[in-house]
């Protein structure tokens, strides 16, 4: 809307110009039209007048010719001649030639009949004696005079109209524009923010209405501005409040984060505690075995030391040899039997001894069973048939017992050192914070070792490990993953069931599946199990951080974890990349 600058009119001009233009046109019209019209009307009336004069003369001529009333004719002509501005009266014959005229020497020329300064009127004369017409000519001087007068009058009238029109146009424009200017000034002031501006109503027309509306509008704006300011102030107050709250929230969040870290730590500690409890139990078992074995050995040794010399003195050299053979056979025998197998072997031994007619078959059977000699007793028949066989076998079994207990101690020590080794593996921590190459299956085995105590009673463990290459990882953190998953599995199965652990390579991953035959995870909570603080356990029992920690560790390795669960079969799938091509995700 770019207006030409050249044609930019103010409102005042827009009002003034048409008025002035209109009045000018009107004046000009008055000045031109009225005289013109007057002229035409005058010519018309003079024409009529002249024509009627001609008729009068024509009548006079007819009368003169027919009645010889020449005086009448003459007086009509005289009347015409005396009329104002009459220039001539002529009698023209049929051929257009002037028959006679007054003034006498005038010759009428039809070709010049009518011009601007002459008005001609004519009337037919038709008598026996003369046929033609009477022509009367009048000058237009009178008309011109009249028109000139009128022109002067209209000129002054037009001039006065013009002057008055311009004056009134300007006055009217001022009248209209002044309130508008005031409004404009007020609007500018309001535009600059002065809302105390008031516009006085000066007229009852639309501009007056506009002024009233403007005042009302300013009042509204002032009110609205006040409202806005109030609202602003309120907003600022609320903002400050919000800011304070936000800061409080930020502090709370920090606090929560610290608390969460503490919780994570305590979850780790709890897991460790459980582990340690298990391990303590695990170590306590071999220790108990060692203590019992040592006590057995002590008692057997004491017994043997007292009875052996006495026994040897009663035995023949052959019997002595058989005795030591029996003892050494016993020592060299290592059987691992279940209680039922042992009962079966014992029964068949007893039956054969009774069949062979041994006097103390039952005592012999007990003693041989103690020595784990369920077979191969035949070479020692002579010895067994000796009357003091009971004391012989007692001494022999005690010797064997010492040996067996020593073996038990050895086994227990082996077991304990295995646990200690696993513990050492488990807690292995690379302080450098860098990843190290590690075999995932070793980590799983370590965890299984530590959980042996909890697994051995009712849980069958299947290890399906394919050979996998060592991968770059944080071994101790992965151990935490296996610990948590296996711990959960044991709890899910209520310590009764089948734990299947599969490890295989599926490029670009090493996939580890830990499957339990527990109660499964309901669909509605499956999406939430990896959320922190989500737990199905009673309050205070679990922190809800176990699987969250697992997820975080797996993500730190750029791995994936997922779960599939139906009642009776829940599988956690952990994928660890075969190759770590970039630094670990910091958690």
């Amino acid at each position: 809307m770019k207006r030409s600058s050249m044609l930019r009119f103010t409102v005042k001009q827009k009002i003034q110009l048409p008025i002035i233009l209109f009045i000018s046109v009107l004046s000009l019209f008055m000045f031109i039209y009225f005289p013109y019209e007057h002229n035409a009307a005058l010519r018309d009336s003079v024409g009529n007048e002249v024509a009627s004069l001609a008729q009068m003369v024509s009548n006079g001529v007819t009368l003169g010719l027919e009645n010889q009333d020449w005086a009448g004719m003459r007086s009509s002509i005289d009347f015409v001649r005396q009329s104002k501005d009459i220039r001539f009266v002529a009698l023209v014959d049929e051929n257009g030639a002037t028959f006679s005229a007054d003034p006498e020497d005038f010759v009428y020329d039809p070709a010049l009949a009518e011009n601007d300064s002459l008005i001609i009127g004519s009337y037919v004369v038709d008598t026996e004696l003369f046929s033609g017409e009477v022509v009367v000519g009048s000058s237009t001087r009178y008309i011109e005079g009249q028109v000139r007068k009128l022109r002067a009058t209209t000129f002054w009238a037009a001039l006065i109209t013009l002057v008055l029109g311009i004056f009134f146009g300007m006055a009217q424009a001022n009248l209209i524009v002044r309130p508008l200017s005031l409004l404009r000034l007020a609007a500018i002031k309001v535009g600059h923010g002065d809302l105390d501006t008031m516009v006085e109503r000066r007229s009852g027309d639309e501009i007056g209405d506009l002024a009233s509306e403007f005042s009302r509008m300013i009042t509204s704006v002032r009110l609205a501005q006040q409202n806005v300011q109030d609202a602003n102030a309120e907003l600022q107050t609320k903002n400050r409040l919000l800011d304070t709250e936000r800061r409080q929230l930020a502090r709370t969040l920090e606090h929560l984060k610290a608390t969460q870290a503490q919780l994570v730590q305590s979850e780790k500690m709890a897991a460790l505690g459980q582990l340690i409890a298990g391990i303590a139990h695990e170590i306590n078992t071999p220790l108990g075995a060692i203590r019992a074995s040592i006590s057995n050995i002590e008692r057997a040794l004491e017994h043997t030391l007292m009875q052996l010399p006495e026994l040897l003195s009663t035995l023949a050299p052959e019997a002595q040899r058989q005795f030591f053979d029996l003892v050494s056979l016993s020592l060299s025998t290592r059987l691992t039997l279940s209680a039922r197998e042992e009962r079966g072997l014992r029964r068949s031994l007893l039956a054969r001894l009774e069949e062979a007619g041994f006097a103390h078959a039952e005592e012999i059977t007990d003693a041989l069973a103690d020595m784990q000699l369920f077979e191969g007793w035949e070479p020692f028949e002579d010895l067994l048939r000796l009357p003091n066989v009971k004391s012989i076998l007692q001494v022999a079994s005690r010797l064997s017992l010492q040996q067996r207990n020593s073996q038990n101690i050895e086994t227990a020590v082996e077991r304990a050192s295995k646990i200690v080794f696993a513990l050492k593996n488990f807690s292995h921590h690379d302080a450098s914070g860098n990843m190290s190459l590690s075999d995932i299956t070793e980590g799983i085995d370590t965890v299984l070792t530590l959980y042996h105590n909890q697994l051995k009673h009712g849980i069958e463990v299947s290890r399906i490990f394919e050979p996998v290459p060592p991968v770059l990882c944080f071994p101790d953190e992965l151990n935490q993953v296996w610990t948590n998953l296996i711990h959960n599995a044991i709890q899910a199965m209520n310590e009764q069931g089948h734990l299947i652990i599969e490890v295989k390579q599926a490029a670009p991953w090493i996939e580890t599946r830990i499957t339990d035959t527990g109660r499964g995870i309901p669909d509605e909570i499956r999406d939430k199990i990896f959320d922190p603080f989500f737990t199905t356990k009673d309050a205070g029992e679990g922190t809800g951080l176990g699987l969250d920690i697992v997820r975080r560790i797996v993500e730190k390795h750029r791995g994936e974890i997922s779960v599939e669960s139906v009642p009776g079969q829940t599988t956690f799938l952990v994928r660890i990349p075969l190759v770590q091509d970039s630094p670990p995700v910091s958690s």
Binding site: G64, W70, I77, F99, E104, L129, F130
Partner: protein, 140 residues
């Protein structure tokens, strides 16, 4: 008296009709001119001559018709229409005084007698020597 005058007039009319009478041209006694030729008479009646020789104005009287007029016109050698046209032309310009046409010769006689510088024509029978009229010409 009126009736008597009317009867007398009718009698005179019949007499004149009955008898072929001479036409005379009469003038008012004030006219100094003694005689008029045909040419001069024609000039007067064609309104070319508007004043007598002594400068007094000529007043022309005419008859509207009748034997007297016919004989007068034939004396002048003109028809009535010719004369009328001439009069029309002259009268129109306003230069000449209009001739007065009367019906009765007696009226002409009286008018001529009454008007100084007047001229008219009547039958000889109508003419009386009395009053201020004299004959200036006789139509042959």
């Amino acid at each position: 008296m009126k009736h008597v005058f009317l009867i007398l007039t009718i009698c005179l009319f019949f007499c004149a009709a009955a008898l072929p009478a001479q036409t005379v041209v009469i003038v008012n006694e004030s006219v100094s001119t003694k005689s008029l030729s045909v040419k001069e008479l024609l000039d007067v009646y064609t309104l070319n001559k508007s004043h007598w020789d002594d400068g007094s104005r000529i007043t022309v009287f005419d008859l509207k018709g009748g034997k007297t007029k016919e004989s007068f016109l034939s004396y002048l050698g003109m028809t009535e229409d010719e004369l009328k046209r001439i009069w029309l032309r002259k009268q129109f310009t306003g230069k000449a005084r209009p001739p007065r046409a009367l019906t009765d010769e007696e009226e002409v006689l009286e008018a001529v007698a009454r008007t100084p510088g007047a001229i008219g024509y009547i039958s000889e029978r109508t003419y009386k020597t009395t009053r201020n009229v004299r004959i200036i010409a006789k139509v042959k």
